[in-house]
């Protein structure tokens, strides 16, 4: 009969700290890439471009309609095969890059939705008014639409980032040593699974809590600067 060893939890908490780096690397790079992908995917929908619009809908439907775990395996096994066609050998590429790519494409789909909704939320009259005072298309977008869209998108962006953080816990399936992968090895070595996973849960909780606070501060700051003045 085992019992729960609280002192060990603290011990594992400290041992897990270095693995936070990999987790954050995955989150940061996939969110940044996802933002770029999401913008590219959202544009055909915003500007109603015929064929591209259908393609981006298909993209959205696929990435929102299948589990991220399946996507992870699909890219890990499929992409090297695909790259062989163009004579690129991806067999030696570390799994971390596949993880980042998959998460970027996955969050890209949700980012696209976020961007579409945020731009659609800007009142049409604002754009017309901006044109009426003689702004160019670029100016209208930059000075009028974007600041307002960012204000509506920020809470969604915060949610997506935190969801992405939690999704990174699946990267261990490809052997990436982020928090979950690390805690699994710790558990196997010490046989104290419950303690290591308790430490793991606490770390994730702290991370998502800190992220949430940071986004909250950002939102407050932006509304004070009048950027989110609606």
């Amino acid at each position: 009969m085992m019992s729960f060893d609280i002192a060990a939890v603290l011990d594992y908490l400290i041992k897990l700290l270095p693995a936070i780096r990999i987790t954050l690397v995955i989150v940061a790079s996939s969110i940044l890439l996802g933002l770029i992908v999401g913008t590219l995917v959202a544009l055909p929908q915003l500007y109603n471009i015929p064929v591209l619009k259908r393609l981006s809908q298909l993209y959205l439907s696929f990435f929102r309609g299948t589990p991220i775990l399946i996507q992870l395996f699909l890219f890990y096994y499929g992409l090297p095969e695909l790259l062989k066609l163009v004579a690129v050998d991806a067999a030696r590429v570390p799994a971390l890059y596949f993880v980042i790519l998959t998460y970027a494409l996955h969050s890209g789909a949700f980012m696209a939705e976020m961007i579409r909704a945020a731009v659609a939320a800007v009142d049409r009259g604002q754009v017309e008014a901006a044109y009426a005072v003689g702004m160019s298309g670029l100016q209208v977008f930059w000075r009028i639409v974007l600041p307002q869209a960012i204000a509506t998108a920020l809470p969604v962006f915060a949610n997506l980032t935190i969801a992405n953080l939690k999704d990174t816990s699946l990267a261990f399936t490809l052997g990436v040593m982020e928090l979950t992968g690390k805690s699994q090895t710790l558990g196997v070595m010490s046989r104290q699974f419950l303690e290591t996973y308790a430490a793991l849960a606490i770390l994730y909780f702290i991370l998502s809590f800190v992220l949430e606070r940071l986004f909250h501060l950002l939102e407050r700051r932006m509304s004070r600067k009048g950027l989110a003045g609606i």
Binding site: I70, T180, L194, Y197, A201
Partner: protein, 236 residues
């Protein structure tokens, strides 16, 4: 790249066998999650002293940690708890006799419960306060008002969220492979090990999930039409 189309089909057919397992995990966790979530949401809504604080802590913790940590904690923690309780009570029941899928049911229900409580809460908040007051004014009790006036409207308002929840749990059920439950994801891996055609097997799994998700979306659209029948909007 040479895709083995024949094997995609073979894998697809093999995966159909375990669709009931995936669906069972999804449905059980969403239903139990709904019960948990509704209780927590009501406790918080009516500010029941201790329960509402406990509920808030539960929701915050679960929403701040990945679903897989819940599964792992339940998988390793629950047997310890059950065995010590059984030993203390002198029962012969031991945790070994719990099937693996039981852990998935318990942990995913706990996960779903936290998210569900937010769905229920936003559904309840979507109903105008005046509706409850009007129901009281015509002599209904609070229980009657909830059942006849508030809940039907709250349900209609939260249908899109419920659908998202169902899809989220469907996708989340793929994690059950970590506790050796053979659902679609695990089955894809098993099928692929026979000839190392992992890509084909996961392609089949992805198509299957895509189809299931599409089905849920269609069904919700139908349900939404039915539930929103009372809502005509406008003045006509």
């Amino acid at each position: 790249m040479t895709l083995d189309y024949g094997f995609i089909w073979t894998a697809f057919v093999a995966l159909l066998d375990v669709v009931p397992v995936t669906l069972a995990i999804t449905v059980v966790s969403v239903l139990c999650g709904f019960v948990i979530g509704a209780s927590v949401a009501l406790a918080r809504q009516f500010r029941v002293p201790v329960l509402s604080q406990l509920g808030a802590a539960y929701v915050t913790f679960i929403r701040g940690t990945p679903m897989i940590t819940h599964l792992l904690l339940i998988y390793f923690g629950l047997p310890m708890l059950i065995d010590s309780v059984a030993a203390a009570l002198g029962l012969s029941f031991r945790s070994v006799s719990i099937p693996m899928i039981g852990f998935a049911y318990v942990s995913f229900s706990i996960t779903a419960g936290a998210y569900m409580s937010e769905v229920v809460r936003s559904g309840l908040l979507a109903v105008d306060r005046g509706q409850l007051e009007a129901a009281h004014a015509v002599g209904m009790t609070t229980a009657q008002a909830m059942k006849r006036i508030i809940l039907p409207q709250a349900l209609a308002a939260s249908l899109p969220n419920l659908s998202n929840m169902l899809i989220g749990m469907l996708h989340g059920s793929t994690l059950a492979f970590t506790v050796s439950v053979v659902e679609i994801n695990a089955k894809a891996q098993i099928v692929a090990t026979t000839n190392w055609k992992f890509f084909e097997a996961y392609l089949a799994a992805a198509l299957l999930f895509w189809g299931l998700t599409f089905l849920i979306e269609r069904l919700t659209a139908l349900a939404e039409r039915r539930f929103r029948r009372y809502y005509r909007g406008g003045v006509s």
